[in-house]
Symmetry: C2
Subunit: 221 residues, 2 copies
DNA sequence: GTCTATACTACGATAGAC
DNA sequence: GTCTATCGTAGTATAGAC
């Protein structure tokens, strides 16, 4: 569908850089990462990075956009699917959690992208817009699902924006919470069992928090 | 209650430094702030900072501990208060929100403290422990409230740890979400009206999510 | 497309005068 | 307790050979 090929037989240098940068930026944030660490870990000289990305900020935004692209792919499938509003919202939560777990760098990068306002050095506007546009599109579709559910009487009369914020907190923050989260939960956050449990906890919370009448937890699946 | 005086007629240099450092660290994070900016904004030379704080990491942790101390003061009052478990939990949410709003630097600093693992240069262990201890104490008391509420049948059989994570996400993340949050909500996050609305939204969510039987939203207050 | 070399700036931290 | 001066390092980014 695109003019430039996106599949590669062997991981190109560009993808190698993105992988390494994603790991580092996730852990330390934009300002906390030096390009030398990225270059070394990618097996390249420092200067070579600038042949693939115009600046550090451009690299950071490329990482963020790739992360959001993966989430978008998962959620788009679910949002376009069938089922009641409640069923689709459950699947949104589960897919969002799956996206956090697939690459554990995701929650921290996404959380940073959401709450850190532009600490970026102003220059990387073009690549910033790609990310912003993708984010806005995703948010808009998620809000629509909630609003339609409210209009259809499937959800109580809750604010879609507030509900979305709560949902982001419940999913993204939780899987970003690292050592604190592990200490609180008394075990790893990303084990299959912990992930299954978190999904159940959030979905149950939403059902009793969003649905007007009888509990729906005993339903299919 | 303390040997050293904590009240000051005029703001000492130490407090001035803490104030400006809190603002900067909240916005840019630990790695994103230079001590020169802090010193300039405080009206001091760069070197003078080191007479008040052993290192940048020590300053950062002093800021974090002061933030957590303010939250602790609010929540301790509420946790020691009377009322049913549900009433006390409502007041915990409202007090936590009040703490975020009182100093809008709070949510971002707290969020960073919770999800950024030790990017700190290892040396500031003593002042780190003060913060960790205060945090552990607070978390323990919050968990206890939820667990007791579950045991007393006031809450459904939910995990205290999971519930606490969801709560933190709903309060701390929301008020840390800056431009993204404002865009999503369609207005400021910290206006009196927005704050009132967020409290209501979370408390309602919790009631329908935690309480077993009939909705309790019509109750007193 | 990767390298070496370099420019320029900022960083955290220390020494020592006042 | 604040200052100036300085140290050593690391930061982003560019120039130009290969």
């Amino acid at each position: 569908m695109e003019l430039t090929k996106t599949r590669n037989a062997s991981p190109s240098s560009r993808e190698k850089i993105l992988d390494v940068a994603e790991a580092r930026f996730s852990q330390r944030g934009f300002a906390g990462v030096g390009l030398r660490q990225v270059a070394d870990a990618a097996g390249l000289g420092k200067s070579s990075l600038f042949h693939h990305f115009r600046s550090k900020a451009a690299l950071y935004l490329a990482v963020l956009d790739r992360v959001l692209e993966r989430i978008d792919a998962r959620l788009s499938t679910v949002l376009a699917g069938s089922g009641t509003h409640a069923e689709r919202l459950d699947r949104v939560v589960e897919s969002l959690v799956d996206a956090m777990v697939e690459h554990p760098t995701t929650p921290r990068l996404l959380l940073r992208a959401l709450f850190e306002d532009d600490d970026l050095p102003e220059d990387a506007m073009p690549e910033a817009e790609a990310f912003e546009a993708r984010l806005a599109s995703l948010v808009q579709r998620l809000q629509q699902l909630i609003q339609e559910g409210v209009a259809a009487g499937a959800f109580r009369a809750a604010s879609a924006a507030h509900t979305l914020q709560t949902l982001i907190g419940a999913v993204v923050y939780h899987f970003a919470s690292g050592e604190f989260g592990e200490g609180l939960m008394g075990g790893p956050l990303f084990s299959a069992e912990a992930v299954r449990r978190r999904k159940l906890e959030i979905v149950t919370f939403i059902h009793h928090g969003l649905l007007p009448g009888a509990p729906t937890e005993g339903e299919g699946s």
